[in-house]
């Protein structure tokens, strides 16, 4: 239902709100399907961070969608043909929840029956994620790290001095307006951070782990940045430090593998990290989950800060453009604007 509403709505702000609700709904859906770890992640990511990032993006790109010019008949046809074929394909699939399905016959019984002796961690998801399939997870963390670098290279701006005086007065005004929100959230932030750490280190026994903890940790810091402005947040959390943490997390993960490699076993085989294989597994899982948590949290913070930083820079440029036009940088941007104007004029002419 929500998804259909998203198709129909033209206002992008409403679309973003609906995606948040959609994320929360799918999280509860995952709980119903016994996938608590996944639900945890989806609730933090789908309902929290993704909505925020999209909001930050639409403040820069405008919030209404242009009306469609052509009929979507062809698209509908393609979609229905694909959907029909997929539904035809599902007719041979095993029934929902059946125990004999091929999915449950391959490696899953080994994970369920033997992971307690081999890894000694009650949460099977954690033991599969961090031990049996650790190499896979290393790749995923590398992808997240790369995405962080990508956003950094696309959106980061050269550091420059800004006029703080104007900002301060604006900020104070905002703070007076949002007194209740600010105080309530301020008291919440330490608890969110504490909860993130709990999720991080309790992931062996209950639902949780590095991925969820990283996202929750980042959410707390993003909340802080939203309440007190980006400049204050940037002064508290040094950007270079956060970028360093992102890299260190990935390095920590990879170097755990190298240690076991030098001890004469396979890459990321933790049995040799301690005298007792199970203790070694515990240590290995703890270390790489820490690496995952560091990288995920740092990358999320990097992404958010860069989005908002870009936006504030744009706003500043606009304000300066409207007041005075003697700086070379502004001249350039006005040139850009005039070419844009010309372009739109040409477009109009062509339209006529």
């Amino acid at each position: 239902m929500i998804a259909i509403a998203i198709v129909r709505t033209k206002d992008l702000l409403a679309v973003v709100m609906l995606t948040g609700i959609y994320g929360l709904l799918s999280a509860s859906f995952f709980v119903v399907l016994d996938a608590v770890d996944v639900a945890f992640t989806e609730a933090a990511v789908g309902a929290g961070i993704s909505g925020l990032l999209m909001l930050a993006a639409i403040t820069m790109t405008g919030r209404t969608e242009a009306p469609k010019r052509h009929k979507p008949l062809l698209a509908l046809l393609v979609v229905f043909v694909t959907g029909g074929m997929l539904i035809y394909g599902t007719l041979d699939m095993p029934y929902f929840g059946s125990f004999e399905a091929p999915v449950h016959q391959h490696v899953a019984p080994r994970y369920i029956n033997d992971s307690m002796q081999e890894v000694g961690v009650p949460n099977i998801v954690t033991s599969v994620l961090a031990s049996y399939r650790a190499f896979d997870t290393l790749g995923e963390v590398a992808v997240i790290f790369t995405a962080g670098i990508g956003v950094l290279s696309l959106l980061s701006l050269p550091q420059r001095r800004r006029s703080y005086r104007l900002d301060e007065s604006k900020k104070e005004l905002m703070h007076e307006q949002h007194m209740v929100v600010r105080i309530v959230s301020k008291t919440l932030i330490p608890f969110i951070l504490l909860f993130a750490l709990y999720v991080q280190f309790h992931g062996d026994f209950g639902p949780g782990g590095g991925f969820q903890a990283g996202v929750i940790f980042a959410a707390a810091i993003i909340l802080y940045a939203m309440l007190f402005g980006l400049d204050t947040a940037k002064r508290v959390f040094n950007q270079t430090l956060i970028q360093l943490i992102a890299a260190i997390g990935l390095l920590l993960y990879a170097s755990v593998g190298v240690v076991s490699l030098f001890s004469g076993v396979n890459y990321l085989d933790y049995n040799v990290l301690a005298d007792d294989p199970v203790a070694g597994q515990h240590l290995g899982i703890l270390l790489i989950e820490l690496g995952v948590g560091c990288t995920v949290a740092a990358v999320m913070i990097i992404i958010f800060f860069n989005f908002v930083g870009r936006r504030e820079a744009q706003q500043d440029a606009n304000e300066q453009n409207s007041t005075e036009l003697n700086n070379s940088h502004e001249l350039k941007s006005t040139e850009l604007k005039s070419t844009e104007l010309n372009n739109t004029k040409q477009n109009n002419r062509e339209g006529e």
Partner: protein, 120 residues
């Protein structure tokens, strides 16, 4: 009973909606939202395959013998976080496109590209 397959049909329906948004809408942010819905349909597909009747969440405890399959959970757990990272990258690209073209509607961008090609 064919009705036992209903979970796949929900997935296909969600996938169709996401796919439709991606190909029929011109707004780039809307396209990304469509991709997210498409992605979620795949997540739900995996998780619903891993579910077992009368099973419990895959955390070992006394007195439980049937657990749902942990493997799809692991795959999807990481896929969600990777998904948000790649979505953020996509949004960053959209922001840059807006800065250089002044628009995020697909057809307007194409017209501008056409114009620059004609000039050169």
């Amino acid at each position: 009973m064919v009705l036992g397959l209903y979970n796949y049909w929900i997935v296909v329906l969600l996938m169709m909606i996401g796919f439709y948004i991606v190909i029929a809408h011109g707004n780039l942010i809307k396209k990304l939202v469509g991709l997210t819905i498409f992605q979620t349909s795949v997540f739900i597909f995996y998780i619903s395959m891993g579910n077992v009747e009368n099973g419990s969440a895959p955390i070992l405890a006394e007195g439980l013998s049937r657990y749902s399959n942990p493997l799809p959970h692991v795959l999807i757990l990481t896929a969600i976080v990777v998904g948000i990272a790649t979505t953020a990258l996509g949004l960053a690209l959209v922001v840059r496109i807006k800065e250089s073209y002044g628009s995020i509607e697909e057809d307007e961008i194409q017209i501008q590209d056409q114009l620059t090609e004609d000039k050169t």
